[in-house]
Subunit: 121 residues, 2 copies
Amino acid sequence: MTRAFDILGSPVRRRILELLAERSRTSGEIVEAIQREFDISQPGVSQHLSVLRESGFATSRAEGPRRVYELGAGPFGEVEAWLDRFRGAWSQRLDALATEVARGKRERRLQRSKEPVRRRA
Amino acid sequence: MTRAFDILGSPVRRRILELLAERSRTSGEIVEAIQREFDISQPGVSQHLSVLRESGFATSRAEGPRRVYELGAGPFGEVEAWLDRFRGAWSQRLDALATEVARGKRERRLQRSKEPVRRRA
DNA sequence: GCACTATATAAGTTCGCGCTTATATTGAAC
DNA sequence: GTTCAATATAAGCGCGAACTTATATAGTGC
């Protein structure tokens, strides 16, 4: 876990994960995309990919001479678990601030419906 | 946003936020609690508090000579927003792996999660 | 005023991350 | 085999974050 937030701390790595969330890509595609936004060399990107691989945030398989990267679950679960502790407290603060917004409190029920389908037993 | 994950990257700061999620505390209480777990000086903790203050992850008010720290919403929302992009994709991987937390036994036979077959309808 | 407590800021050092260039590895095509 | 393409690894460097110690600030009580 400890590492998870460090790994997500890099804007380049976050961007790579965003790219992989769209679809799987080869190392070359990632390098190309990243270099359009960041001034960084191919080995630079490759090292970030290495970090993502080792952490499980991404997986890779060889496909001929290319490496296809895919989003991995990795420590996302741990990040979520950690954040869970704050969801309650934090939304309370938002509510406190929300006096300005003057939103109806029942609005929050709508948010709840955004959750992935969760079947109650 | 960029800063949010950097700020959460520090274990000391994460621990402070956990403490504040329980209840508000004075700087002294935080220093004491942190020093039980980390080998760090009072100014060290104070600097972390400063970072949390400036980012909005925490707020402080003077109470006599003490400073009372309280959890702030800060960039939590941005972190959540960023993670939102991955919740879908990421839970798919978890399903595909069909491992991890064994999330309870929903009895619906809607989904037999043993097979690696990932048939998204 | 002085002394003491609580906390923050200043100034300086160290260490690891994120980069670089150079090179190794692996695969395909010839 | 040789050569080219795609990618990873090695080695080294610079800079900023996270510490440290020392000191300043602010509040309370005498």
